[in-house]
Symmetry: C3
Subunit: 342 residues, 3 copies
Amino acid sequence: MQKTNPGRFFEDYELGMVIDHAVPRTVSGGERALYHALYPMRHALYSSDEFARDCGLPAGPLDDLAAFHIVFGKTVPDVSLNAVANLGYAEGRWLKPVWPGDTLRASSEVIGLKQNSNGRTGVVYVHSKGFNQNDECVMEYKRWVMLRKRDNDAPAPETVLPDLKPVLAPSDLVIPEGLDFSGYDFTLAGEPHRLGDYEIGEKIDHVDGVTIEEAEHMMATRLWQNTSKVHFDVTARPDQRLIYGGHVISMARALSFNGLANAQMIVGLNGGAHANPCLAGSTVKAWSEVLDKAETNAPGVGAIRLRLVATKGGSPFELKGADGKYLPDVLLDLDYWALMPV
Amino acid sequence: MQKTNPGRFFEDYELGMVIDHAVPRTVSGGERALYHALYPMRHALYSSDEFARDCGLPAGPLDDLAAFHIVFGKTVPDVSLNAVANLGYAEGRWLKPVWPGDTLRASSEVIGLKQNSNGRTGVVYVHSKGFNQNDECVMEYKRWVMLRKRDNDAPAPETVLPDLKPVLAPSDLVIPEGLDFSGYDFTLAGEPHRLGDYEIGEKIDHVDGVTIEEAEHMMATRLWQNTSKVHFDVTARPDQRLIYGGHVISMARALSFNGLANAQMIVGLNGGAHANPCLAGSTVKAWSEVLDKAETNAPGVGAIRLRLVATKGGSPFELKGADGKYLPDVLLDLDYWALMPV
Amino acid sequence: MQKTNPGRFFEDYELGMVIDHAVPRTVSGGERALYHALYPMRHALYSSDEFARDCGLPAGPLDDLAAFHIVFGKTVPDVSLNAVANLGYAEGRWLKPVWPGDTLRASSEVIGLKQNSNGRTGVVYVHSKGFNQNDECVMEYKRWVMLRKRDNDAPAPETVLPDLKPVLAPSDLVIPEGLDFSGYDFTLAGEPHRLGDYEIGEKIDHVDGVTIEEAEHMMATRLWQNTSKVHFDVTARPDQRLIYGGHVISMARALSFNGLANAQMIVGLNGGAHANPCLAGSTVKAWSEVLDKAETNAPGVGAIRLRLVATKGGSPFELKGADGKYLPDVLLDLDYWALMPV
């Protein structure tokens, strides 16, 4: 009997199937410290327990993207080990903060299937959820990947495409219990800009850049127990290790502190594209565009919808060419909702 | 008076001498997080406090190899700073799990001495033990190293060779208090294979590989407070820094999850050879061979004896050439006992 | 309105101005573990909670230099983002240990101003303080940097130079509450040398070296939330990333264990010069010179004043050329007070 995990192929998925992913993970102050060592994170709510308490939370939570990476990492062996491409994300929501001491596990439900016309590949849509030790869902997202078929002669499943929201409505966003920005300390947070100071359509060049090293992206990706071999094994690809897309997301988000220091908590992921592969030696920079703003019911708390673009060169604010395709220096185009003092 | 530690030479050891090693070390969730960042660790018992509790333990312990590295690191300044070669290990036993908050210290007793016929070097055998803050022995092992003499004219000691077991018997293994695999969750653990599914003689290619970077092995080796300069100082050797052999052990053990996810706790180290030096840039892969199986008295808990081989190339399952010597791509040949649900 | 931080220029400072720095930071066992992974730290008081308790402290504190780096990092966006040069330190004092769970913030008061004769730059002197969550000052230091003017036509401020002590007197040093070295365990600490064993003028070559990697110094510098782009962005300088001077300080201090294992707690920083820039690939070594010794009122606790020199080559004990300038291989010349058993 084969003991190792060969990964799943397109015909291994059925609509409605629920996969419980392996290897639950307990987080501590160690994960928080490593997140600060790997990314230039400065958002005060995640850096300081005292600042978080002054905002109505019991302590500083684990970074929202770290929670995402842990949940995502658990899905890899069951969803994307054999993926030809990671096609997209939608309807990502953070439902509960993750605290040091929490243990996370994950499961995914198959919500869509479509065999490609070539008969050799297909697209699988999953709804993935992360749970804490109390079986509370801490975050969820939908994701679709292209997978090879094991047997090209296997019959095509009925095509079912999920109905995905292009953008989460403000009413879809869940505000962490107790969050209160009415006494927000802008000096300690690092910038004076509140939601009212941002205009829809405004673009911000975050200025700073970070040149990425192999050791760093591998440590990050392992920390999330993501086992995809292209990130670790230089002999598995013709050229260089491919950097986990989530490493670029976290790097760009951290860089966005400079101009968006008060976009504190990420509560919604509307969509995202890894426009081009990132390799070690690239210098990652970032810019953002304000896409929308909204009120919430929590005291002093507003929501800001942002496009976050990571690049490895080129000029800020350039995204796509005349052909509608991403420019070669664009690494990431992410669309998310964050909470900001009004 | 010379203030720095010159290390010990062969004639500095006497049979029965006990050396208390310096620099006790308290571990926390930080060491656990770093272990997960440095190695692709996925064994559920070490990743999740909840999984560990469901197996009868109070929490997820520090990885057994991390405990070994800490104890080993403490012995380096007193045992192997001037070692010409690290010749072997035997009778390694893990006696108590190490928990975040524990403080470890170590001591070694000289149990054997043999001057080499060249008169310039000799072999020292030590029995090293690690203790926690309650003076409980958490692990022990025997090790022998070749050391230079300071003074070639110093008289040879009486040759005493310790009586070392080639393999620990199942009855030598200590099962952690409370361990119970009768309700073991194979889904959360990541693989369905139980002890009965493995056959003696079975070989498993763990498939995945990791290309090693200088920054990673140095961070790991420093974390264990191992001060051997060949690991850190590129000017101390003709070519490249030599990677601590324990880094290769941990990397190979982590890779072995793929096929041996349920070989949870390491309780015995029968022997091990660092067959060839490992340098940064090498892509480490691993394969295992089932050497033996045994029952234990703990509910649902069996023991599996494994050969773990790390390579930097070549085909899996190749170990030695026609001359009986390790092939040049073999890095490690380790023989250990782990606990697995029956 | 510009959202990103352009940094301050010389004319943005006024005498007596107090700047509250952003982004408070909670530390945990994670920061402690990372400090041990990044530097070959072995001082027992910081490595072991048990050893620290035997010395009268409630637990092992965060390394004193880690506390310094955190406070320093907070000042960077307000003080040195546009610095042409970091000119010096004086009167650094550690007033309270920092414990896991503490949250640090920082503020700086402008205590001196002097426009340079070229009319384009000036020197700003600040008195920076770090506070814990109880508003207790945990450390303080004075520092001066050269800054560009935004507008060369801006009028020069009145020149005010602070009165800085060239060396802290023993009576200026603050001994941590409860510290007691009367039962100090020299075996566990790693060396037998007490204060009486060192002579003023004695020089110690710490022997060991560490070759520095890009990934390591960037992780360290990010951990302290230091945002100075020259440390991270290879495109921001003509050649290579410039390593944060504090990384060299911590590396040299850790290497000094070999010969100064009992110089446990740093309580005073008399001055320091980053003599030459450090780049990745350099092999850092260190030597020390005993500059002074003193008694304290705490039981068994003495103070030793040390020069700590980091080099990237050359012979130990060489510091300056015939021209009085630092030799090109000298990286750091630091003057500090540490506590040592008498």
